[in-house]
C-alpha cells in the first residue's frame, strides 16, 4: 500500500553497504551511487544505509529535512557526542567529534561531508596508506581547507580518530583515518 523511496528498501541498502565497504577499503577511489533519493540530499542514501535506532546523528548545517529524521530513526545529539555527523564541506570545521578510546577506537565519529564535486576541482589531494598502491590523487570541489587541517589534528594519535565519507550529487569516496592526505 505504501510506496517507499528505493533508498529505504533492503535490496538497495545492501548494495550501498557493499559499495561503502569497498570505498573504505580503497580510500580516495570514487564510487557511483546507483540509488538516489527522490527528494532531499544525496547523503540520505548513505545515511539510510548506515543508520538505525541504535546510533546517534548530528546535522549541524541543517542539510536534512524535518521529515527525514523519523525515517532514519537515529537519535539526535550534539556534534561532540554523535556517532555520525553530516556536514556541508564548504563550511568550516569548528567542532571536535568523538575520537574513540584506546580500548575501543571504533567508538569514534564517522563524518559525512557533502562536497560540490568529487573527481574535479582545483583542490588536488595525494593519498597514501593502506588500500592504496603507491599513491592516489583525488580532486575535490567544495571542501573547505579547515577540514583537512582538523582531520590531521583529530587523527594524530592513531588508532584514535575519525573516518570521512565524501559525498557529491552521485558519488562517494572515503578517507579513513589510516589514509595520509597531502595537498598537492
Amino acid at each position: 500500500m505504501l510506496k517507499l523511496d528505493p533508498i529505504w528498501q533492503p535490496d538497495a541498502q545492501q548494495e550501498n553497504f557493499r559499495l561503502l565497504l569497498d570505498a573504505m577499503a580503497r580510500p580516495g577511489h570514487r564510487y557511483t551511487l546507483d540509488t538516489l533519493p527522490e527528494n532531499g540530499t544525496v547523503a540520505l542514501t548513505v545515511l539510510a544505509t548506515l543508520l538505525d535506532a541504535e546510533v546517534s546523528l548530528d546535522d549541524p548545517h541543517a542539510l536534512l529535512r524535518h521529515e527525514d529524521w523519523p525515517m532514519l530513526q537515529a537519535q539526535s545529539t550534539s556534534t561532540e557526542q554523535a556517532d555520525y555527523i553530516l556536514c556541508d564541506a564548504t563550511q568550516t570545521a569548528d567542532f571536535t567529534p568523538k575520537l574513540g578510546t584506546l580500548p575501543s577506537p571504533e567508538l569514534s565519529a564517522t563524518i559525512l561531508l557533502v562536497v560540490d564535486n568529487i573527481g574535479k576541482g582545483n583542490l588536488q589531494l595525494k593519498l597514501t596508506g593502506p588500500g592504496i598502491k603507491d599513491d592516489r590523487s583525488l580532486s575535490i570541489t567544495g571542501l573547505d581547507s579547515t577540514w583537512l587541517s582538523k582531520r590531521e589534528e583529530w587523527n594524530c594519535a592513531f588508532p584514535l580518530g575519525v573516518d570521512l565519507i565524501l559525498i557529491d550529487d552521485k558519488q562517494v569516496a572515503a578517507l579513513p583515518r589510516t589514509t595520509k592526505v597531502e595537498v598537492i
Binding site: M1, L2, L4, W8, P70, M71, Q73
Partner: protein
C-alpha cells in the same frame, strides 16, 4: 485485532483509492522479547518472543484533507500495520469513510467480546471445587 486481516486489507485498499499515502517512518516487522523476573532469585529472563510490526503514515485525500496515523500490532504482516495506521489516520482526521471505520471497530469489539465470553466460559468449566477434598480426607482418616 478481531476482524479477519483480509477484510481489513480490502477495505483500506478501496478506501484509499486515489489518496496519497506517505510514510513518516519506515514500516518495520520484527520480534519483541517478553522479559519477566523469575520468583526464586528475582532474576530477569526472556519468556518468549512475539511478532511485532509498526507503521506511521500521512494521508492526503484528493480534496486536500490530510491526517496522520500510526499502528503497532502483534503480527508479522507489514501491510496489516499499514492498514491499521490508515484507519487511525482516517479516524483522527475524520477523513471520508470514517463512519465505515467506526462500524468496523464496533464489529471488532463485538467479536472480541464474544471471544472473551467464550474463554471465560471455558475457564469456568475447568474450576475445581476443593471443598470436597476435605470430606474425602476425613473419610480416609476414619478408615
Amino acid at each position: 485485532m478481531a476482524l479477519p486481516g483480509n477484510e481489513l486489507l480490502s477495505f483500506t485498499r478501496r478506501l484509499s483509492e486515489g489518496w496519497t499515502l506517505r510514510p513518516k517512518s519506515v514500516p518495520q516487522s520484527g520480534l519483541g522479547m517478553l522479559k519477566i523476573k523469575e520468583s526464586a532469585f528475582d532474576e530477569p529472563f526472556y519468556l518468549g518472543e512475539f511478532p511485532v510490526t509498526s507503521a506511521w503514515l500521512a494521508v492526503t485525500t484528493p480534496d486536500g484533507q490530510s491526517a496522520e496515523g500510526a499502528a503497532q500490532v502483534m503480527d508479522d504482516r507489514v501491510e496489516l500495520a499499514e492498514a491499521l495506521a490508515l484507519c487511525d489516520a482516517v479516524l483522527s482526521g475524520h477523513l471520508p469513510g470514517w463512519q465505515d471505520v467506526v462500524s468496523l471497530l464496533e464489529r471488532g469489539q463485538a467479536l472480541r467480546q464474544t471471544t472473551n465470553n467464550e474463554r471465560k466460559l471455558i475457564l469456568a468449566r475447568t474450576q475445581v471445587d476443593f471443598s470436597l477434598l476435605d470430606d474425602a480426607g476425613d473419610n480416609d482418616a476414619e478408615a
